[in-house]
Subunit: 269 residues, 4 copies
C-alpha cells in the first residue's frame, strides 16, 4: 500500500512500511497497543477517532448485552460445523457468523433506521407522537414489521433493554433516540393493535445513536459481539462435544412425508 | 428421521434406516446410483421428479455456461483463502460461494422474476410489447436495474446467451420466456434510452423457465455451477499458488489517504 | 487476464476477451455449451481434458451416491442459517459447505491416499496382503483410523459402496484400487480386531482412482455433490421452514450445568 | 435449555428462562451489562471467570496488536465478497474470517504450543537452553517451521512483539513463556542456521500464557481481533468501494498459459 499516489483508489484505515504500521494516523506500536481498550480500538477502526467516554461505556454495554444467549441457531450451526470439520476453527466461526442475518441479530440496524426516520420527521417539524405514527403507518403500508419490538421469549419486558437505558441515563447520554424508542413502545398498542415491548435489538441502536455512534456501523455491533460468544462455544465444543447430539435431536424432530418405494420399512412400524 | 409421525414437521427429500437410503421416494442404491446423471439427480433433489430430456439438456447447458469466467472476484477470494488457510478446502469453497450474490451471479433469479412478471401481464390480457413496457416502467419507477441486460465486458453480444437460445430452439423447447426476453431486448433502447443486450444471466432463466424448471430454484444454478469451477481453481492453487500474488497486486493498487503520524516515512518518498 | 506475458504467474483454466471465453483451450460458446454434460465439464475444468466414457459414468455414480443423506449436520446448519438470514441463499449454502470437513465427507480423500499407499507398496514389490498389512500397521502406530471403513448407521454393509463396485465392474473399469479396498476389508478383522465394512467414502476413491480420476481432485467430489443437496434443502426450507424447529429440538436436548445466581428459577422446578 | 436434567449432555456457558439470561452463573442484565468491558466479558465467556487486571490488560493489548494490518488477503477477500453480495454483511465478514487459517493468523496457537512444550521440558528437568534445543530439533526432524518466528515484512524486528513484551514487564506479569520465547530467538540462529526474529504471532501467546490465559483459547484472539477490523473495512467498502478494483488488479497480474483454440485473439497482439 502506498501513501499519496494521486491516481489510486484509497483506503483511510491503515498503511505500513518496514518500520511501522499506521492505523487511522496513529503508530500501532507506539500509540495504540497498551494505550486503549479493544472496544475503543474498534471505534477508532470504524470511525477514525477514539470514542468519548460515554460512547465507550455504551459500546461495551451493548456488546455485552448481545453477545450470548445460549444455544441459538447460529451457535448450533457453528458447533455442528466444528464437530464435522474440527480442523478449521475459523470455518465454524464463519458458519456461526453467517447466521447473523436479517431475522436474527440483524434487526439492530433496521431498528436504528426506524428511530432515525422518526427523528428526521421531528426535525421536519412533525410533533413527536405524530412522527412515530407517520413512520409506523408507512411501515405497515409496506407490510414491514416494526424492527426492535417484540420477542418470542421475553414478552412484555426485555431486561437487557431496560438495563441499557438505565446505563445511558446514569452516564448522561440518554437523548432523542431513546426518547423516540420509548414513545414508540407507548404508542404501538394503539397503532398496531397489540402491545409490543422494546427488545434488546431496539435498545442497542437507541443508546448507541444517542452516544454518537454512526448509524452505518450498527450492524457491526452484534456481529463482533456474537463472534466472542461463538469462540467460547467452540472451545467448549472441543472439550465437551455436543455438535452431533444437537443434529441427532434435530433429525429426530422432523418426519419424512415424501413417497416411499416398495419394501421400505416404515420406521414407525 | 421418521416416516409418518403425524405431529412432526416434515421434509420430503429423503429418509433412511439401517437398510436403505430413500431419496424422493426412490432407493438410492437400487434406483439412482448408476441410473441417472448428476444433473438429473440435481433436478430430482430439487423438484421430486427427474427432468424431461429437454429440461435435462437445458440444465446441463446453463450449468456449463455459467460455471467459469476466469479470475472473477469470488474465485480470487477463494484462492486467497486457500493460500491463508490450506488446511480447509471447504473453507475456501465457502468463501467463493459467498461471492455469488445479488451483484454477481445472483441476477439469474432476478431476471427470472422479471420475465415471469412480463408473462403474467400477458396472461392478464396485456398485449406483448405493452407487457414489457409496463414491467420496465414499474422497475424504473422504483429505480431498479432491468436484471439480465447489459454486461461490462460483452457489450452488445453475449455469445453464451445466443448459444443458449440456439440450443433451446434445436431441442424444441423455446417458448414464451425466451420470446419475452428477446422482446425486452428489442424494446429496451426506446424504453430506457440506451441499448442493453441480453446477458447470460438473462438467458439462463429464459431457457430454464421455458423448459419447465421452477422459478424458485433458479438461484441454485449459478451456485452449483460456480462450485465446480471453484474446486478446479483450488486444485490449481494447490499446485500453482497465486493467492498471495493476487493479494499483493490488490494492495499495490490502493493508496492510503488517512492521516500520517509525525515521522512516518511516506512510501512515495 | 492476459495470454503469454512471460513474467506473470499463470493459470491454465480460462481466459477471455471481448469476443470469447476460452476454458481449457476450448471456446465456451462454440465448443462447450450444449456439447458436454455438467459432469464432464467438471472433469474438464479439473484436469484440462474431458473424461473417458467410463470415468464419466463413475463420476456421475459417485456424485449421486454421496450428495444426499437426510438431515445430516451440514444440512441442519445450512437450514438454520437460512432461517436466520433468508436474504442470502449463498450464505446458507456456504454454512453447509463448511461442514464438509475431515470427520464428515472429508474421508473420501483420506481413503484415496490410503488405497494409493497400498498400491505403491505393491509397486515396490510387497505382495498384496502384506501391502495392506504394512499400511494398516503404520496407520495404527500413529493412532489414525483406517479411512473409508466403518459407518455409524450402515454397519456391515453400505449398499452405496456395493453398488459403486458393481457399476465399475459392469463398465469394465474395476482395477487395483477396488481390489485393494476389498482386500483391506477382508483383512481388517484380523489386523484391527474387529470387522469394519467398507463405506461409501472408501468406495468412492476406489472406483474413481480405477477410472483414472486424479487423487488430488477427490476432495471436490463430496463438496460438489453436497452443494446440490444443500440447494434442494434450502429451497424446501423456503417453502416449508423447519430451521427453527431443528434449533429448538437441539437446545431442548442440552442441559446447563454452570453455576446459578441466587434467585434464578431452575426450570425443572 | 434446562438446568439439571441428569441425563442430558451439558453446556456451562449460559441458560435462560422468561425472567433472566444467566451467563457463567451471573445474571446478564444485573451483573454484567454495564459492569465489565467487552474484553473482560470475552474472558468470562471463554473461561467462566473474569480476568485478573493483568490478564485484562494483556488481552486488550494483544487484540489491538493483531486486529489490523492493511489490505491483507482476508480483508481483500472480504471486501470483494461485499462488492459481489452487498445484501449480506455477515457473508463478507465470514469470507474474511475464513482466511484466519494456519498460514495467516493461525500461528498464534501453534506458537503457544511450541512455548508450552519448551516449558514442559524445563518442568521435566531439562536446563533452559537445552529445552529449546530439544523442541526445535524435534520440529525440524518433522520438517515443521518454528511457529512465531520470522516475518516477510518486519525482518529482524517486529515492533508489535517488542511492545507486547514491554507491557507485560510494566504490569508485572512477564514470566517463563516470555523468557522461553526470547531464549528461542537468541538460540535460533545457531539451531537453524539463520536469524529468525520473534513476530507478533509468537509474542501474543507468550504474553497471554504468562498472564494465565488458557492455551486452548489462543486461537480465538486473532479471530475476534480480525473480526473488528473486517467490520471497519466493510463499512469503508460501503462508502468507498474498492472491491472490484482489487479483483481487477489481481486478474491483470496473472497470465493464461493453457492452450488456445484456433482463432482466439491473443491479447498481447
Amino acid at each position: 500500500m502506498k501513501i499519496g499516489k494521486e491516481t489510486l483508489p484509497r483506503t483511510a484505515i491503515s498503511t505500513s512500511d518496514e518500520h511501522a504500521i499506521v492505523v487511522r494516523g496513529l503508530d500501532l506500536s507506539q500509540d495504540l497497543i497498551g494505550k486503549l481498550s479493544f472496544t475503543d480500538y474498534f471505534h477508532l477502526l470504524l470511525t477514525g477517532r477514539p470514542p468519548t467516554p460515554a460512547a465507550s461505556a455504551v459500546i461495551d454495554a451493548t456488546l455485552v448485552a448481545i453477545a450470548e444467549h445460549g444455544l441459538v441457531p447460529s451457535v448450533q450451526a457453528s458447533r455442528m460445523t466444528l464437530a464435522a470439520a474440527p480442523e478449521a476453527l475459523q470455518g465454524a466461526v464463519a458458519a456461526g457468523v453467517l447466521g447473523c442475518g436479517s431475522v436474527i441479530l440483524g434487526s439492530a440496524e433496521a431498528a436504528g433506521r426506524f428511530l432515525t426516520e422518526v427523528c428526521q420527521k421531528e426535525d421536519g417539524g412533525v410533533v413527536a407522537d405524530e412522527a412515530v405514527g407517520e413512520v409506523v403507518r408507512a411501515y405497515r403500508a409496506e407490510r414491514r414489521a416494526i424492527p426492535g419490538y417484540g420477542h418470542p421469549l421475553h414478552k412484555g419486558f426485555d431486561p437487557r433493554a431496560r438495563r441499557l437505558f438505565e446505563i445511558a441515563a446514569e452516564i448522561g447520554c440518554a437523548g432523542r433516540h431513546i426518547a423516540a424508542a420509548q414513545r414508540a413502545e407507548r404508542l404501538l398498542p394503539s397503532l398496531v393493535g397489540k402491545p409490543l415491548s422494546l427488545n434488546v435489538s431496539g435498545a442497542i441502536p437507541a443508546v448507541l445513536l444517542d452516544a454518537g455512534f454512526p448509524l452505518g456501523a450498527l450492524k457491526g455491533i452484534p456481529i463482533l459481539a456474537r463472534t466472542a460468544s461463538l469462540i467460547a462455544h467452540l472451545l467448549e465444543e472441543q472439550a465437551r462435544p455436543i455438535g452431533f447430539v444437537l443434529s441427532h435431536a434435530g433429525s429426530e424432530a422432523i418426519g419424512y412425508d415424501g413417497p416411499s418405494p416398495d419394501g421400505f420399512r416404515r420406521s414407525e412400524g
